[in-house]
């Protein structure tokens, strides 16, 4: 009742909308139109080489952003959760013939169960100590996958998947794989947007800002911290299964090593901690820029005819340039690329609106 008095229903409804600002809605529609309409005109290279991996990494980064960005619990185990999902997926579908949609849920659920165990130390430790605990999980999970004979990963720790059918449709063309990945990503994004503006999301943010204070206010640490880890792992698990079904075609333990976990953490830091949009921007940045630089370098080499610089020098230049770009963007916008968007769109929104609203971008302290 109190709430009703302070905030008229309309205003509350507006604030609780999935995307509160008009410009965000416009952008979302634009992105959806492009994501749906453009791919048929892109070649297989764009789809299989860039877009599909980008979407899958975005799903995983989104999950990591939930635990690290929203709940402030740093995790270096996301790569391993993807591995859990990948192997669960390939076993559920390949060995037991469970339909793909259900397989994805099982893969996510299995990863979430593992995530609950890995997240348990977060009830007692945080910050760098938690980082080390999740790092240990990263190694233990991969070790278990290699060692448990039932998983059947064999001496090469790789399981191939049979042809992928969803409701009788054979998913083997790049375009089909892309729409499959897009569909999963869209569903999970809506779910994440909903979660983060709900009671759960607010509880996470309270934990991130000051967990003792949150606990005093009645936010259950056990419940919300574990939930953050589980949901994060759930996303990772689904992303891992998508690697198998929509991208690589096999679950291979070498792909989910520590490098991947670090890369995912890098994505959400560059993209913006505690931002759904940031997870995507970060994944795009990390997936697209090295390739763009590499191709640009290759063209320079082709034009120069190899006389001025060697191929090896140019290959190394890619890493230098990419590193420089990361530093540049973090100096320009320490809160990540998503904040850049918020600042830009905030000014546009103010111009569009006859009644200038206050900047609705929440000012965030960086967790940790």
């Amino acid at each position: 009742m109190m709430v009703e008095e302070c905030f008229p229903a309309t205003r509350l409804k507006k604030d609780m909308a999935l995307l509160p600002r008009r410009i965000d809605k416009l952008m979302m529609i634009a992105v959806l139109v492009v994501a749906l309409a453009l791919p048929p005109f892109l070649g297989d290279y764009w789809l299989k080489g860039v877009m599909i991996p980008m979407l899958i990494l975005s799903i995983s980064a989104l999950g990591l952003n939930i635990v690290t960005g929203f709940a402030g619990l740093i995790s270096l185990g996301q790569g391993a959760f993807m591995a859990v999902g990948a192997f669960t997926g390939v076993i559920a579908y390949g060995r037991y013939g469970i339909p793909i949609p259900l397989t994805l849920l099982i893969a996510g659920a299995m990863a979430a169960a593992v995530g609950a165990v890995v997240g348990a130390p977060s009830l007692r430790i945080k910050g760098l100590y938690l980082l080390v605990a999740t790092l240990a999980a990263q190694f233990i999970i991969l070790w278990v996958i290699q060692r448990v004979p039932w998983i059947g990963a064999g001496s090469m720790v790789t399981i191939n998947t049979p042809p992928v059918f969803i409701a009788g449709l054979h998913i083997d063309e790049a375009l089909e794989q892309y729409y499959f990945a897009l569909c999963v990503a869209a569903l999970l994004t809506v779910f994440a947007l909903n979660l983060t503006r709900s009671r759960v999301g607010r509880a996470w943010m309270a934990i991130r800002e000051q967990d003792v204070a949150a606990s005093v206010m009645g936010v259950s640490m056990l419940r919300y911290k574990l939930m953050a880890f589980m949901i994060s792992a759930f996303y990772g698990g689904i992303a891992g299964a998508m690697v198998v079904f929509a991208w690589v075609g096999a679950a291979s333990v070498q792909e989910y090593d520590l490098d991947l976990s670090i890369q995912l953490l890098g994505m959400i830091i560059i993209g913006g901690l505690g931002s759904v949009l940031g997870s995507y921007l970060g994944a795009i940045f990390v997936a697209l820029f090295p390739i763009a630089i590499s191709i640009a370098m290759h063209n320079i080499y082709a034009i120069s005819g190899g006389d001025i610089v060697s191929a090896a020098t140019l290959a190394n230049a890619e890493h230098l340039l990419f590193g420089a770009l990361i530093v540049f963007f973090l100096i320009v916008e320490p809160l990540g690329l998503s904040h850049l968007w918020h600042r830009f769109s905030g000014s546009v929104e103010a111009k569009l609106s006859r009644f200038p609203t206050t900047n609705q971008t929440p000012t965030r302290r960086r967790p940790m």
Binding site: Y45, M156, P162, A250, A296, E318, V332
Partner: protein, 437 residues
């Protein structure tokens, strides 16, 4: 006000960057024109990252051989034009490289076992042969189950079996293996555990005992393992299956615990100069396996030095010519060119993945052909077929004299039956996995 300006600049920079990146992507996507009398051959290479030091030699060795072939009129007049895609030993980038040149691939050699595993499905769909010499999927020796994969030479199981046969030879015959203890110290991953089934089978046949000492990557700390091997297990022999930097750690540890270096044998992946140099004098006398001859004394390498480096067209620093990694590149180049040659003779130009795969299956490198190519002793005689994609081959053993490798053995064959039955078993497992439910 100032802050706002900064934002606008940053956004401007971002936009310019994206446009530039996008346009360069588009520029590359225009199809590459391959002339009538030319084979366009994209290559996956590792020139950056931790594995670049050896891997770059393998890529450049191939390119130098292609250059030599081109200088001598090409393959019956057809020249090879290659282009590099650096993936830095990272699997996702290998997939991206593959897509970048999709449709142009003739034969794919990433020189990375994880990458070949990830590529396998695409190679099968696109009908392009993926090779990974002395690595990759061991059971891809079975050309029927894996029509577009090949280990070419010495799959991991042959490596393990041949190493045991060499130990048996040094002991004076298999009969003397009975009761011997062999310590196996290895990286604890898929690669390091490949020899397990072979050791198990041979231990049962010949009555020796073996035990595994797994090491976590990067395996630079091995002292506890070596104390156990030398003082508790009292091993008669030790075999290492390390990789990269971890290859030279045992030399120091063995010195400390007093394990004799002459009772220690390294895998062929611990058999290049880069693996051994950091151990300095301690490595003098170290024996490792290899799948090819070492040094510059092969006619084909002499020709490369004279013609390619003579014309300053070399693809790497000249002092790396003749190193282990480089020779691996040259022999890979020979195999690829033979596959091209057979494909042209059979089908004519232009080539595609399937034609080159068929050309690969027709390769017969007997002693006469090897002599013609100037590669006698560089690689053993090889012959492939539609059912057999190579992999059951002998190893050479080599000793480090403090400065360079000396070959000290003949070609030591693996125990063929043991390797074959393992290939059959693993192929059957693969067929079961990929079968439609």
């Amino acid at each position: 006000m100032k802050k706002k300006l900064f934002t606008r600049n940053a956004l401007g920079a971002l936009a310019v960057g994206l446009v530039a990146a996008g346009s360069s992507l588009v520029a590359t996507l225009s199809p590459t024109w391959a002339g009538e009398s030319e084979i366009f051959h994209p290559m996956m290479v590792t020139r950056t990252g931790p594995f670049a030091s050896a891997a770059s030699g393998v890529s450049s060795g191939q390119q130098d051989y292609f250059a030599l072939v081109n200088m001598n009129g090409g393959i019956d007049g057809t020249k090879i034009r290659w282009e590099e895609c650096d993936f830095g030993y990272k699997t996702p980038r290998a997939l991206e490289c593959y897509e970048r040149y999709r449709g142009d691939w003739k034969i794919v050699y990433p020189n990375s076992t994880p990458a070949i595993f990830a590529l396998a499905e695409r190679l099968n769909t696109d009908e392009v042969l993926g090779i990974n010499i002395a690595g990759g999927r061991s059971e891809s020796s079975d050309g029927e189950t894996f029509p577009f994969l090949s280990p070419v030479m010495l799959n991991f199981w042959s490596q393990a079996a041949s190493t045991i046969r060499y130990i048996a030879e040094l002991e004076g015959g298999e009969a003397n293996l009975a009761g011997k203890k062999i310590a196996f110290i290895h990286i604890d991953n898929a690669y390091g555990r490949q020899p397990f089934p072979i050791f198990d089978a041979l231990a049962e046949m010949y009555g020796f005992e073996w035990k595994s000492w797994p090491l976590g990557w990067p395996a630079l700390e091995q002292s506890a393992a070596w104390v156990e091997i030398a003082r508790r297990y009292h091993a008669d022999w030790a075999i290492q299956w390390n990789y990269g930097q971890s290859c030279n750690v045992p030399m120091t540890e063995m010195k400390k615990v007093g394990f004799p270096l002459e009772k220690f044998i390294g895998t062929l992946w611990c058999g290049s100069e880069e693996d051994i140099l950091p151990a300095g004098d301690l490595a003098k006398g170290y024996i490792s396996a290899n799948y090819h001859g070492v040094g510059k004394e092969f006619p084909v390498i002499q020709e490369i030095i004279e013609q390619v480096y003579g014309a300053e067209k070399g693809n790497i620093e000249e002092d790396r010519v003749g190193t282990v990694a480089y020779n691996r590149g040259v022999l890979t180049g020979i195999i690829i060119v033979e596959a091209f040659r057979n494909a042209i003779e059979e089908y004519g130009l232009p080539l595609d993945g399937r034609k080159v795969r068929d050309g690969f299956r027709m390769i017969k490198l007997d002693d006469a052909r090897l002599a013609e190519l100037g590669a006698t002793g560089l690689l053993p005689p090889l012959a492939f077929s539609p059912t057999y994609h190579g992999g059951i081959d002998p190893q050479l053993f080599q000793q480090w004299d403090g400065e360079k490798w000396e070959t000290i053995s003949d070609w030591i064959p693996p125990y063929e039956d043991v390797v074959k039955s393992q290939i059959e078993k693993a192929s059957a497992e693969y067929r079961a996995q990929t079968q439609q439910q």
